[in-house]
Subunit: 184 residues, 2 copies
């Protein structure tokens, strides 16, 4: 019996809220034992929904992002990597070195990251969970975008959408293979 | 008998190509009589597919775009307006005044445009054709993005996606009503 494919739309800005419990629970470090003392409201918001979708990964996570600086989303990705999920990240060369970028931390944690060497921007903003759930939209994974911009994210399980994005990821992943980099 | 909902994914960069014939045909000005002398290749590409989807509008077109400077897409929108399609545009205040922006031309043509007065960006990049087809993704409607960036656009007719975007558009349209603008 096949369940209905997930079809969800998230809009931003997401109201500031505490995601500690969600992340601690996912890390299996016993959230209930150490309640977060911060004054932010708890409960559901677009950011927590996005985090939950990502944290549902069991086998693989492909990420293709122009800008990635959100600490919460960075922690979620590192957590999945530690849990044994195969994480691969593609990003834009111009953005990745900026202050606050999560890319250095992800690389430090042992996660594979590749970037462009092109004039144009690697402007995609999508992720694919377990090769079956596509998360895509206008949202870069930055605190600025999450908290203050008008943004959208679609969560999609229909193969007509997921498959072309998987193919696009593999195409870019191979093109950005460091063996092809040119150093001038 | 209901036809299958359109489900299409477009990737960019789109190779440079001539869209004169497509636009002249849509304008009803007799494309065949005046073939474009430019040396660009003809034929299908992501930009021409995007144009065709837009030009299929018969009644209404909602556009919600961070950046809009592509002359071809600007012509398509003006053409729809002249054809009697109800066009409404929402855009970002920081970007709309930049050189090359199509927003001034659209306003000059009599198309309704509203913009934010917020600190954050109005970062959406979507359009809705005839209240039933959603066009959304990472792509701003700029020549730079179309020709040199890695970008994606989804074309979606499933109501689960279209309806929330229609609601989001109406919400923003009302919020950006000039009667709410504050002048300091």
């Amino acid at each position: 019996r096949r369940r209905q494919p997930v079809r969800e739309v998230l809009f931003f800005p997401s109201r500031p809220s505490c995601t500690e419990e969600l992340l601690a629970e996912a890390a299996g470090t016993g959230a209930a034992a150490r309640p977060c003392p911060c004054p932010l409201p708890r409960g559901d918001c677009s950011l927590s929904r996005l985090l939950r979708r990502l944290l549902s990964a069991r086998r693989s996570l492909e990420i293709c992002l122009f800008a990635f600086s959100s600490p919460q989303l960075g922690r979620a990705v590192q957590l999945l990597h530690r849990r044994g999920v195969r994480v691969r990240v593609v990003t834009d060369a111009q953005y990745m070195g900026l202050q606050g970028s999560q890319i250095g931390l992800l690389r430090h944690a042992g996660i594979q990251v590749r970037h462009d060497q092109e004039n144009g921007y690697m402007h995609h903003k999508f992720a694919i969970v377990d090769r079956r759930m596509l998360i895509t939209g206008s949202l870069n994974w930055t605190t600025q975008a999450i908290q203050t911009n008008r943004e959208n994210v679609l969560v999609v399980e229909d193969a007509e959408y997921v498959k072309p994005f998987l193919d696009e990821f593999e195409r870019i992943w191979e093109e950005y293979n460091p063996i092809h980099y040119r150093f001038f």
